[in-house]
């Protein structure tokens, strides 16, 4: 089994001391080590935001692209070389705000990859505006009188859109989170791991103590992750008790399984670049 240190990048994280994202990074490194996936076969793709800086801090291939656009790039990389372990990371603004269109369609597409969202319910990099998961009536710099919109429910959205592994972790529960990530990476299909990753600087509402008082593990309450209706019910539980853990998991053929070329074929990137025989194509045009 590989050591966690093999996955530690050369760049030190620039997150605020106490940021939930440290726990996410540690859990991801632990999950990769547990699975013994060589760093050069791992690709971590992100968008923009505090949490999207993560690819720089992990020893693997990385892609730090555009705000909200991690999933298209990750999808393209996976389809171009489906031998890679592809993990997309980012925050709630990146994935559930500007990038939510891609999120829905990537769930639907069920490409075999993992999406880790560090959900701190605030825009941190731009110093504290409301995000899509900011709770209603919370005051932020952009909502001095409190947010008007309802918070988006990423778990319910992923379930509706067809994600085949839907989980939520808490940065303060590191081993549990690492297990969820490991399950997500092992799962054949599109896996979402939404993580409560508190912003200690700009979110004074959803704090570590706030979560610690509320979260409970689905696994400890004999939740059946194969039951879609139950998963939906749990997705809407938000208040005195908030569930973390695996909400739903189903085996459905992946995009790669369904595509006649990718199915059983060697990855595109491994195919030699050689002169193409166009005869088969051209005969339709004579």
């Amino acid at each position: 089994m590989a050591q966690v240190k093999e996955y530690i990048g050369k760049v030190k994280p620039d997150w605020c001391p106490g940021c939930g994202d440290f726990g996410v990074l540690n859990a991801l490194q632990r999950a990769l080590a547990d699975l013994d996936i060589a760093p050069h076969n791992v690709l971590v793709v992100s968008g923009i935001g505090c949490s999207s800086n993560l690819p720089g801090f992990i020893n693997a291939y990385g892609f730090h692209g555009l705000h909200g656009r991690s999933l298209p790039v990750a999808s393209g990389a996976k389809l171009g070389n489906h031998g890679l372990t592809v993990i997309a990371t980012g925050g709630d603004g990146d994935g559930y705000g500007i990038g939510v269109g891609h999120f829905i369609h990537t769930c639907r597409r069920n490409i075999d990859m993992t999406y880790i969202v560090m959900d701190n319910q605030i825009y941190g990099l731009t110093t504290g505006q409301a995000s899509p998961t900011t709770e209603k009536d919370i005051r932020t710099k952009s909502t001095p009188e409190g947010t008007i919109e309802l918070a988006l429910n990423p778990i319910a959205l992923a379930l509706t859109a067809g994600a085949t592994y839907v989980a939520r972790g808490f940065s303060g529960e590191n081993l549990h989170l690492a297990q969820l990530m490991r399950g997500a990476i092992e799962h054949k299909g599109f896996a979402l791991v939404d993580v409560f990753s508190p912003c200690v600087t700009y979110n004074k509402h959803n704090t570590y103590p706030w979560f610690r008082e509320r979260v409970y593990k689905l696994e400890e309450e004999r939740h059946d992750p194969s039951d879609f209706r139950l998963a939906m019910e749990k997705a809407y539980e938000w208040g005195a008790r908030i569930p973390i853990g695996l909400f739903y998991k189903v085996e459905r053929p992946t995009y790669e399984d369904e595509d006649s070329v990718l199915r059983g074929g060697i990855p595109l990137a491994k195919q030699p670049l050689e002169r193409t025989d166009l005869a088969a194509v051209m005969e339709d045009f004579i």
Partner: protein, 587 residues
């Protein structure tokens, strides 16, 4: 005497006008003629006016032509829209006498055929009037009936023997009827002289074929007129050779998939039109700064905004060259003919791989949707180039964006041990580490990215085409799909005794400065014809050359005809000879 005829079919959209035109085109191509089609069609799916034009000749065709030799007008609207284009010295109108009775115009030959009643009474299916009309054309102009019969078998074979026979019967009904028409015209085709094997391809099909030849195995796209048929072609053909198409949720995702695939080591492409291309500009900036080879095709249509989706324009050049924020070097190419679509896209892939930057390839509706006979592509004409990958010794302390004399750095591929790096949208150092506060590094890195232009200028110079007099009194600089039209205009003007020549670059940015300079020097006037309102290429050239270019702009959603260019040459020549004053550029 060479054969050179222009046919146009017009009628109600959705009633088989386009398929009639397509079958006529294929028949003429298989009969041994060079063909060149021109399509305009309504934006509506059903209804509206549709027409299809095909020019057939023994010689290489450079444009859609100007005057019609034969107009087949199924209804009065088609007659009214197109009769003014019919040659007044022996052009033929074939019309459906069941539909309308046209007034007689001087110099036009009228053949009335009861197309609808022949179809309903003899075949029992009204829609076969299209096939009846093809029989009429075949007999009148001596196009081999056998060619049409074979086409009908191929086209309707899947629908069963009965359907095939009904259509062949309809063809013969038309041919029989035509025997009793007293001939007044002299149009005769027979068999053409084209010998070697040719393909009949549209610009979009030729481009897609070229992409396959380049080693592209992944296409990502979102449907948009007039680029969609590139996706449809590749969805059909790529799986035959181990590739596939992903239809994404939008154009941002499409170019994202392309960058992801290319980063992961497989050549990929997307194609779109103006509205989708606008959405892609942010990703183009990312491809520039992260130095990811990528090919983006824009089959231009009329803008701005939704514009005129089925009409042609050369209006996206500014966006192609300057779209995106920051200092953002990319290569912009323009495709010039159906044949060039094949080799042009291969060059685009090569440039993107060699220089690790995005290449924007401009086509347009006129080129993308027209068909032409092209020789079977020669795969040896353009080599297939791969990106520079790191040598083993470079993987120790790998620097993905290492500063090198030619500004091209080794690019590792995920899976390569020791090659790990982060493709970075932030300004970064040589390793790829973010360097968002390193002022000196930003300048050095920007210089590196623009530094690639030095070599590209040279390639651009090599890819310039010259037509007519290489040191003319009156020069023409065009771009993109106008190449053939301009070339034909130059031939006409030269035959009238004008000192005229044309330069046609294939790479529009960075520009072939040396070749442009050489060409412009010594001219008395330079005309820049563009299918847009403001003269976008002329504007780019004015940044580089202190020269009073004369613009010729057409902005009605249609391409130039050779005659329009000839008219401008004559107007400019008259002015040049009467005065030494240069012309103010008309905007």
């Amino acid at each position: 005497m060479t054969t050179d005829y222009v046919f146009r079919v017009g009628g109600e959209g959705g009633e088989g006008v386009i398929s009639t035109g397509e079958m006529l085109t294929l028949a003429l191509a298989r009969a041994g003629f060079q063909i060149y089609t021109f399509r305009t069609y309504p934006a509506e799916i059903k209804g509206g006016h549709a027409n299809y034009q095909v020019r057939a000749s023994d010689k290489l065709l450079l444009s859609q032509g100007h005057w019609l030799d034969v107009l087949l007008a199924f209804n009065e609207e088609a007659y009214q829209k197109h009769i003014q284009d019919v040659r007044r010295n022996g052009g033929v109108l074939i019309y459906d006498t069941d539909s309308y009775q046209p007034p007689i115009l001087e110099g036009v030959i009228y053949y009335g055929v009861p197309l609808t009643s022949l179809a309903t009474e003899k075949i029992g299916i009204k829609l076969t009037k299209n096939i009846v009309s093809l029989g009429v054309l075949a007999h009148l102009f001596d196009i081999p009936l056998k060619v049409f019969e074979d086409l009908l078998k191929e086209r309707f074979g899947r629908k069963g023997e009965v359907v095939v026979q009904k259509n062949i019967d309809a063809l013969h009904v038309g041919a029989e009827y035509a025997k009793q028409i007293p001939r007044q015209d002299r149009i005769q085709l027979g068999s053409g002289s084209r010998g070697a094997k040719h393909l009949v391809l549209s610009g979009n099909e030729s481009l897609a074929l070229g992409a396959i030849a380049s080693g592209c195995r992944l296409y990502a796209g979102y449907p948009i007129t007039p680029a969609t048929d590139i996706m449809e072609f590749l969805a059909r053909e790529l799986p035959k050779i181990g590739g596939f198409v992903v239809q994404t949720e939008d154009e941002i995702s499409a170019i994202g998939v392309v960058l992801g695939s290319s980063y992961a080591g497989k050549k990929a492409m997307t194609a779109t039109s103006g509205p989708g291309f606008s959405l892609m500009t942010e990703m183009i900036g990312l491809a520039v700064v992260a130095e990811i080879p990528s090919v983006i095709v824009d089959v231009q249509r009329v803008g701005p905004s939704t514009g005129m989706p089925t009409k042609t324009e050369q209006g996206d050049l500014y966006l192609a060259v300057y779209g995106g924020h920051g200092n953002c070097p990319r290569i912009v190419m323009a495709l010039t003919s159906v044949e060039d679509c094949f080799y042009g896209i291969m060059r685009a892939f090569n440039l993107s791989e060699q220089f690790q930057m995005p290449v924007v390839v401009l086509s347009d509706q006129y080129l993308g949707h027209r068909k032409a006979t092209v020789p079977v592509p020669d795969l040896n004409q353009v080599p297939v180039i791969d990106r520079r990958k790191p040598q083993a010794e470079e993987l120790a302390g790998f620097r993905r964006y290492r500063f090198t004399p030619d500004n091209i750095s080794p690019m590792s591929i995920p899976g390569m041990e020791g090659g790990g790096y982060v493709a970075e949208g932030l300004e970064h150092d040589e390793v790829g580490y973010p360097a968002a506060s390193d002022h000196e590094n930003h300048l050095r890195s920007t210089q590196k990215r623009y530094g690639k232009f030095g070599q590209i200028h040279q390639i651009a110079n090599d890819l310039v085409r010259l037509y007519g007099n290489p040191h003319p009194e009156i020069g023409i600089i065009g771009w993109g799909s106008s190449e053939g039209v301009i070339r034909e205009a130059v031939e006409i003007a030269q035959s009238k005794g004008y000192s005229v020549g044309a330069l046609h670059p294939k790479i529009l940015y960075p520009q072939p400065i040396a070749k442009l300079k050489e060409f412009i020097e010594g001219t008395k006037a330079v005309i820049i014809p563009e299918v847009n309102f403001t003269g976008q290429f002329a504007t780019l050239l004015r940044k580089r050359f202190a020269y009073d270019f004369i613009q010729l702009n057409k902005c009605i959603g249609l391409p130039f005809t050779p005659q329009e260019i000839v008219d401008k040459i004559e107007e400019v020549a008259a002015h040049v000879h009467s005065s030494r004053r240069s012309h103010p550029a008309a905007v």
